[in-house]
């Protein structure tokens, strides 16, 4: 995965950091392959947890069926940000509207999978593992890392999860552990002599007998390696003014900063939510979409002004959409297909076909695009990895990365 060099910027910050002695060997190993460079492509995954109501995100305001099924949560013709005379953006998504018009955002319509599962946890596992049936042991990104794992150097994967939720299954591989940070500060070790001495001097060997202890030893190594690498970064990071003051924006500002110094990871993962709007949906959903579009627009704007826009693609997905007909609590229940977003430069405006609101199965939309086709597209055309071993089958790619 990481042997594909796009562009090499000699004398970049990465080279400086990589050459300092505080960087553990495992990072050095990745760098020494002369493959990781400033020009390397980065994928950012934004997970919309809880099931985003796709119908109220990209709204078919021109469809009578939409108005027949929704009263309390309906967003009418006068409120939507019109895309055409059938579809419009939720009014919170001004940032997405602008990006789409500039060719910096692609909507993939009607994304789902066969025999949709309406459990949050099962459906999330399906999206993360890219496997329709259990066991869901590894994730689609984790398997990319496994394919590239350098067994001798073990450990620091070219991925980073930012957030305080557990490491996403998507980023879990068999051979490699991805660091998961809440913030840069969260990795500082207390200034205690006993603790520092023990951390420096104790390095346990992997027993490969006991799953739990081996896991913990590897987690400890990953954490210490990330800690040492981040110490080179210095103090607390301020969020630039171009970002809104939201949690997602704070995370993406940090991602931008890390990309800017060529910190290393090729895949960054963050989450936003909960989108599980069973009740009193309108305000909660509007606030979440505003946080999403505000943060993504600021992030890509920031990348553009630092000349790194061509280097990054962002995908926003949710485990399912919501039912066409609203429930009695001014909310919506778990559904199926929904739109997905890819942000970056030079993108098609749209891909896939909006699902029919009348041709339903069990009251739910029927998907037109398999999410694994989106993964295949990103793997093949962006990260330039053969998608078949990762996804277990060959899926058609979409013409979204023009």
């Amino acid at each position: 995965m990481f042997v594909n060099r796009r562009r090499f910027l000699a004398g970049s910050a990465a080279a400086v950091v990589a050459s300092t002695s505080v960087v553990p060997r495992i990072w050095g190993a990745a760098n020494r392959r002369a493959t990781r460079s400033a020009g390397d492509r980065v994928l950012v995954v934004i997970q919309l947890s809880g099931g985003n109501d796709g119908l109220n995100t990209v709204i078919p305001y021109g469809d009578d069926a939409y108005h027949r099924n929704r009263f309390a949560v309906r967003i009418g013709q006068r409120e939507v940000l019109k895309i055409d005379d059938y579809l419009g953006w939720h009014p919170s998504l001004r940032g997405f509207e602008n990006m789409q018009q500039a060719g910096n955002l692609c909507v993939v319509q009607g994304v789902g999978y066969p025999n949709p599962n309406r459990s949050h946890f099962e459906s999330m596992d399906i999206w993360h593992s890219a496997l329709l049936t259990p066991p869901h042991r590894t994730g689609w990104i984790g398997r990319c890392f496994d394919g590239q794992a350098d067994q001798t150097s073990a450990n620091l994967a070219p991925g980073l999860h930012l957030g305080d939720e557990p490491l996403p299954l998507a980023m879990t591989g068999l051979n490699i552990m991805v660091p998961s940070l809440k913030s840069i500060e969260s990795l500082r070790v207390a200034a205690d002599e006993t603790v520092r001495t023990a951390l420096d001097e104790i390095d346990e060997t992997l027993e490969t007998k006991d799953e739990l202890i081996d896991f913990l030893i590897q987690a400890r190594r990953t954490a210490l390696a990330a800690n040492r690498r981040l110490e080179a970064l210095g103090g607390a990071q301020d969020v630039p003014r171009v970002y809104p003051r939201t949690e997602l924006a704070r995370k993406l500002a940090l991602v931008s900063k890390l990309i800017g110094i060529d910190f290393g990871p090729r895949v960054y993962y963050v989450s936003l939510g909960s989108f599980d709007t069973h009740s009193q949906q309108a305000n909660a959903h509007a606030a979440l979409l505003a946080e999403l579009a505000g943060a993504v627009a600021a992030f890509h704007g920031d990348l553009e002004s630092s000349g790194r826009h061509d280097q990054v693609r962002t995908i926003c997905f949710s485990e399912f959409g919501r039912r066409v007909k609203e429930n009695g609590s001014a909310g919506t229940d778990h559904g199926t297909a929904a739109p997905l977003f890819v942000a970056g430069s030079n993108l098609a405006k749209t891909a896939g076909k909006y699902p029919s609101l009348t041709d339903l199965v069990d009251g739910d939309l029927v998907f037109n695009v398999d999410f694994r086709s989106v993964y295949a597209t990103l793997l093949e055309q962006w990260l330039e990895i053969d998608s078949q071993p990762i996804l277990g089958a060959k899926f058609d790619t979409l013409g979204l990365l023009s």
Binding site: S119, L181, K182, T197, F215, L216, G328, D333
Partner: protein, 449 residues
């Protein structure tokens, strides 16, 4: 499962044959049934008959003074409606409780019937739910499920309070079958819709559960292969007697008390049978677990990663200390476990999911913080700790921590290195025992309970 284990699957649940526990066994039991025991409590336990130790844990009542303090603190939180103080309230209780096993089980059920103050956003119903769980923790499961289905915090959390006849809300019905009673794959989408109809009209009026017959859909429901179910109560009675229910609860108890590693399903069948034979009462099944050969075998030792609460409360209980619950509450939130604020309706995933780079460093920092913080008090004072634990050398200190804390013995070379570090870095203020705790806290196996 390997052949040898398969042959033994049934036998593994037979009673562990011993009259008296060794100190290592007593420490293991104290950690799993509750949070932990200090040196003197372990010494006391090894002098008692094994079964009496287990029964003592499972029947211990709460001390009256703590109950009074707890009520007073609740009154303050409710008066100010300060849900953010709920975790500290419980953490105080966990540090002081005389009934560790019950409190641990309340945490189990809290994670099982996960309800978050982040959505409920009011202290009173959260505290009421906590009391309901404490009351039914050891009772038959059906009573618990009915109580929870009428619980205002739960009804608010899963939008059941607005489940109306003409437009049912499926949220509670789905989670009841998926996460509370049966597990995925043991019901259909049709069952979700039928069950949501059975719960229509279960509302909250002025903070109390109310059955609104005008919003209830009285037409018969066809649920899990049985026709003619009318009420929510009938539906629950039918659900909890499905064969999958006992298996589902047995598996969750096994994961919580025995091992993070998934067992062969056949290993769970005797536990599930124990639930069925005892009308789903929880005390007999816990007794079966804690007195079993399996519990004192390598299938259980060191097979659990401590939760953040188990780490912090365990540490304090093992050294006979107490600390500021408010400060503890924010540290534990950083580590991913804020009581009363589970991450979602599935509760805390637990096991390996507790660990990532941030929490790994955070756990080391938390132990250091608890042990060196001026707000932490030790029975008899900080400077008497070494004497209380019979510690006179660095080697004693490391061995003592190993005995009361570590789930498996250290490797010799590893132990020598730790002793060496303690000798080199010990300070007069902390003493040897605390220094040994700090050094061991940086190791991977410290996280195993």
């Amino acid at each position: 499962m390997k052949t040898a284990t398969r042959v033994l699957a049934k036998d593994l649940w037979l009673p562990y044959e011993t009259d008296r526990l060794t100190p290592r066994e007593a420490a293991h039991l104290a950690r799993r049934a509750g949070f932990g025991a200090d040196w003197s409590e372990i010494q006391a336990a090894v002098d008692l008959a094994f079964f009496d130790v287990v029964d003592g844990l499972l029947t211990a009542g709460e001390n009256a003074e703590l109950d009074q303090q707890s009520q007073a603190m609740k009154a303050v939180i409710q008066a100010g409606n300060l849900p953010v103080q709920l975790p500290a309230w419980w953490l105080y209780r966990l540090q002081q409780t005389a009934s560790q096993a019950r409190e641990k089980l309340v945490i189990f059920w809290h994670g099982h019937f996960a309800t978050s103050a982040a959505k409920v956003n009011s202290a009173f119903p959260m505290l009421a739910q906590n009391e309901t769980i404490r009351q039914f923790a050891l009772e038959p499961f059906e009573q618990m499920v009915i109580a929870i289905s009428r619980d205002p915090a739960m009804l608010l959390y899963l939008d059941s309070a607005t489940n109306r006849r003409n437009n049912p809300n499926e949220n509670y019905a789905r989670e009841l079958m998926e996460l509370f009673c049966l597990g995925i794959g043991n019901y259909t989408e049709h069952d979700v819709r039928e069950l949501s109809r059975a719960f229509t009209g279960w509302e909250i009026v002025r903070g109390q559960f109310t059955f609104n017959q005008f919003q209830h859909d009285p037409t018969p429901k066809n649920l899990l292969g049985k026709a003619g179910i009318e009420s929510g109560e009938e539906a629950i009675a039918w659900i909890v007697t499905r064969p999958a229910a006992a298996r589902f609860v047995a598996q969750k108890l096994y994961r919580f008390y025995v091992s993070d590693l998934a067992p062969d399903p056949r290993l769970l069948e005797p536990l599930a049978n124990c639930l069925r034979e005892n009308q789903f009462a929880i005390r007999p099944v816990l007794r079966m677990i804690f007195t079993s050969r399996l519990f004192f075998s390598d299938l259980a030792y060191a097979k659990k990663i401590r939760s953040p609460v188990e780490l912090a409360i365990g540490l304090l209980r093992c050294i006979g200390g107490s600390t500021s619950p408010t400060q503890l509450s924010s540290s534990l939130a950083e580590l991913g476990q804020s009581l009363f604020y589970p991450p979602n309706v599935k509760g805390w995933d637990g096991g390996m999911r507790w660990i990532n780079s941030t929490t790994m460093i955070g756990r080391i920092n938390l132990v250091t913080e608890i042990l060196t913080n001026a707000q932490t008090n030790f029975v008899g004072g900080r400077n008497r700790l070494d004497r209380r634990f019979d510690v006179s050398s660095a080697a004693d200190a490391v061995q003592r921590v190993e005995m009361i804390w570590c789930a498996q013995p250290l490797e010799d070379s590893h132990r020598r290195k730790l002793i060496d570090i303690v000798e080199r870095t010990v300070t007069r203020r902390d003493g040897k025992l605390l220094c040994a705790f700090k050094a061991l806290a940086t190791t991977a196996e410290f996280q195993l309970g």
